[in-house]
């Protein structure tokens, strides 16, 4: 039989976010398929660098052979990964890169921002006032905003009103920030939320203030956005979908291969995103699908 790890550690930025449920499931299922006997530990780092570094120390001490990491910060985690590798552990990164990992698979977040905002711009026929509701400065969010700005840059008549407010990547945060922006700007044509909860929060705020003029886009393709798109009672028109399950599965497969000693690409593998809109939402396979 192939060489498989007996102990596997998985650490992710946080566990308390719906995105991470399919993400973790993808990694766990893949390990279970290849190595049914393996002992898998999953932990969340609550977006704390020290905590994640400690968790890797713990993994090393408890003798894991494979670590799958969704890093809190791509660069800052490098020394910990170096230590793990020095201990002979294979490290796979998913969703966020981690400097020094053997393999990396992540969503093309720049692209995710690009296609969502391009769609918004096209819907506005290349002209209008837009806002970007930013999020915490983690690489995925930064990339999406970069992508979005790239897209808008192609339209000289698109005017970005605001891009420096933190919607905390949550409904609550998106809601509060959007309320403020709605008061500040009497007319907004489009909103890009750094993730789906942000977009949903913005939508609720606009709905409550009866502001009909805008369209909204997010990133994730999360079940609640899917439900909203299907219901039609929303200003959300699009979301760049990610497939966390497949992403994690792919990363884990590659990491298992690296563990067996097979050569793997050192460059990050970027997974394309697809735009989910009201038109194609019927055929979209969401996060909550049975696998």
């Amino acid at each position: 039989a192939d060489k498989v790890p007996t102990r596997v550690g998985i650490t992710v930025g946080t566990l308390g976010n719906p995105f991470f449920v399919p993400l973790v499931a993808g990694a766990k299922d893949t390990v279970a398929k290849a190595a049914p006997e393996a002992d898998v530990t999953v932990i969340g780092a609550d977006y704390d660098l020290n905590k994640q570094a400690t968790q890797i120390d713990n993994f090393i001490a408890s003798g894991v052979e494979l670590i799958m990491i969704n890093s809190v910060d791509a660069n800052a985690i490098a020394p910990a990964i170096e230590k793990a590798k020095a201990a002979g552990i294979t490290v796979g990164a998913f969703d966020v890169s981690a400097k020094g990992a053997d393999v990396t698979v992540m969503t093309n977040n720049v692209q995710a921002g690009e296609i969502a905002c391009k769609y918004l711009a096209d819907q506005l026929k290349g002209k209008g006032d837009v806002v970007i509701i930013n999020g915490p400065p983690i690489s995925s969010i930064i990339d999406r905003v970069t992508g979005c700005k790239n897209a808008f840059a192609g339209y000289p008549d698109i005017n970005i009103l605001s891009d420096n407010q933190d919607g905390k990547a949550s409904r609550d945060g998106g809601f509060a920030v959007m309320q403020g922006l709605l008061t500040r700007f009497p007319h907004i044509d489009a909103v890009f939320g750094a993730n789906d909860p942000t977009a949903l929060g913005a939508d609720l705020a606009a709905k409550q203030l009866n502001r009909q003029e805008m369209i909204i886009a997010g990133v994730d393709g999360a079940p609640d956005v899917v439900a909203a798109l299907k219901s039609g009672e929303t200003r959300i028109v699009a979301s760049s979908s990610q497939d966390p399950y497949a992403m994690a599965a792919r990363a884990t497969e590659m990491a298992l291969a690296a563990f067996r000693g097979e050569a793997q690409p050192s460059e990050p593998v970027l997974l394309d995103t697809k735009l989910v809109t009201a038109d194609n939402v019927g055929s979209y396979i969401g996060w909550d699908a049975e696998r």
């Binding site: 566990l15 407010q165 409904r171 008061t183 909550d288």
Partner: protein
Amino acid sequence: MLPVLILLCIGFELLSGRFATFTNLSIVMQQAAINTTLAAGMTFVILTGGIDLSVGSIVAASAMVSVMGSLIPGWGYIGIPAGLAVGLACGLVNGLLVAVVKLPPFIATLGSLTAVRGFARLIGNDTTVFNTAMPFAFLGNGSLFGVPWLVIIAFAGIVVSWLILRRTVLGTFIYAIGGNEDAARLAGIRVTAVLTFVYAISGLFAGLGGVMSAARLYAANGLQVGQSYELDAIAAVILGGTSFVGGIGSIWGTLVGALIIAVLSNGLILIGVSDIWQYIVKGLVIIAAVALDRYHRSRG
């Protein structure tokens, strides 16, 4: 602190020109609503010289249960009592830990902060539960004669708290325990029962906050809802002049404190201060506000 609040409002109006519109003021009050509700309960606790760190987690648990209850076909309104019940239950446990087991309030409620957060995540299995057809959505987004329901609820909470604290015997007991617990005991007051009540009501108000959050967002998430709300609630109480020493303070102060926090958050967005600078300015304004208040009072 009322002058500070008024000063802030005037300042933001001058800087943005859009602060003092009816819509925006109603938004500010809506944003303050949940925190006001939590802070009302927290006032009871702090008046006895205690603290309740668990309110943020209780909001999350209650919101989860409330949304899940709202999904029951035909019985969606059950989400409201269900959410309140969760809050009350958690509060009662806190109260028993503090009053009967005699744990330090900080530790007892720090324990519940952690455990209840875990419970909130557990029941939704770490996903977001949502209900696009929330039956009691009007509570979160509707209004009555132009006044948002959220604001009405929060204000009602304040009024009820005021009645209890200032017009009932129980209120006197709460102040007495905060002022001199031994004296209260010697006067034959059931200190254990009063302390339990105080944490229970804080839990109940937090449960109400959870229901408000559910009605407002149509959704809940065990980890993301209510994170560090306890700090904001405590800050509102202390900004409002209630002292950690116990026995000193008023519920109206708490209302003003909660409004100051909401006005700050809203106003800084309105005048377009970037996120990072919002942190810095907010911190400095809180310090300056209390310092000003001190100075003002020491002269008055």
